[in-house]
Symmetry: C2
């Protein structure tokens, strides 16, 4: 397991945060940006395959993803792994570690990532002086919960084919909202092992399920990733109505 590579370079001052550019992202007040500039302690560049946060660590910082893909996961003692959710630009990670005692899950980079690093001990300060930002954090926590609800429904009650279709429709829509979809197409940088650990299936059965979806033209498997081709077909197969398009905050 690779360790994270820290980088002191700060390429993105908060008033030029790259997240500002995304369509549904709510902008901050001047005062808030000023505070956030101090709240932010730097940037972390993580290579693909890197573990960004480890379960059990309590020294965790708080991060916002500026670019790249990652995933949250938990493992059982014997090594069985469950991927809980994927992490995309705009997502806040490490809140559990800040609010509770320690992180109960790990986070790993799927692609090179740039993370905005916040100072955990200034969080009370944020709550005291910037109620709107505090509300934003709560909003983001609620959203994560809502995503988990839907993922749990899927893993618990959908068939393998429906589950796989849901997963890629879901990822596609999330990616679309942060401008990662180019020309209606998207390449998700995962292996089939990742997909298996997300869906709660074996890797063999995952392969057979993905081939079915590929056979229908819903997606195509590439070198080391999945190209989503037909969002609508995936939604039809899974019976998933899609994500509501609402304005969203970020920190």
């Amino acid at each position: 397991m690779k360790t994270t590579t820290a980088s002191a370079a700060r390429q993105f001052p908060c008033d030029k945060c790259p997240l500002q550019g995304f369509p549904h992202f709510q902008l901050h007040e001047k005062e808030e940006i000023k505070f956030l500039s101090g709240f932010k302690t730097g940037e972390l560049v993580a290579d693909a395959g890197t573990t960004v946060l480890v379960e059990g660590a309590n020294s965790a910082h708080l991060f916002t993803v500026l670019s790249g893909w990652g995933f949250r996961y938990k493992t059982l003692d014997d090594g069985r792994r469950q991927i809980l959710n994927y992490v995309l630009p705009g997502d806040l990670i490490g809140l559990q570690g800040s609010v509770m005692k320690e992180m109960q899950h790990s986070i790993e980079a799927l692609s090179p990532m740039i993370l905005c690093v916040f100072q955990r001990d200034k969080l009370p300060d944020l709550f005291r002086n910037f109620p709107n930002l505090a509300y934003d954090i709560t909003w983001l926590a609620s959203r994560e919960e809502q995503m988990l609800d839907e993922i749990l429904l899927s893993v618990g009650r959908r068939t393998a084919l429906e589950r796989a279709a849901y997963l890629f429709a879901f990822i596609f829509q999330r990616a679309k909202s942060v401008a990662m979809v180019k020309n209606g197409k998207l390449t998700v940088p995962v292996t089939q092992q990742h997909v298996a650990d997300t869906l709660g299936l074996s890797i063999v059965h995952t392969n057979k399920t993905l081939r079915k979806l590929a056979g229908r033209g819903a997606l195509r498997w590439l070198d080391r990733g999945c190209e989503v081709l037909d969002e609508q077909m995936l939604m039809d197969i899974s019976g998933w109505p899609g994500l509501p398009a609402a304005p969203r905050p970020y920190i």
Copy 2:
């Protein structure tokens, strides 16, 4: 489907909140209690089987459970149901409906419940003037996320027997922390259909799995509920390390 029964009677003023009595629950400041008294609009008494919150409703209030059992769930179009988590005294429910546009899940009472009802539109006021309470809400949202992480790990990666053992160990510990366990025993007011919809299994297989656990003496199935007998055995079977015993807030 029964509808909820509203009750105007207010039996519990905030300074005598029954949740104060529980061991790990953090107490509030006087000022906070004063605010909460205004934040609270009344109490809701729900009978067993009653739907407290419906998916899609956006008029939802915010509630804290004062007593009784409930569960959160989602359903697919064809009726397949997934129970997401159980709801016990001290839990805050309806936050998704307050923070996002609308609820994406429903909540139903398993036993008679008493809920503390809050006025959703005063939530910004709370964030503005009571940062500690705002932090508490975030804490509770984080905790829900953490529970969901663990449930998802279980549904995705544990065997049927491990899953069932985990479920009742988990419920037992949560119930213990709010003094619902008497003499080391607990009766959970669920049917096997509830258990099946929690574990992502069919009802037939759930029955066979529960009989195995009963055969080993870990639990006993009663009239309409499950009596947890051997917490340690359930933890051993599931390989679940248990809940951390930390002080927790409530609203």
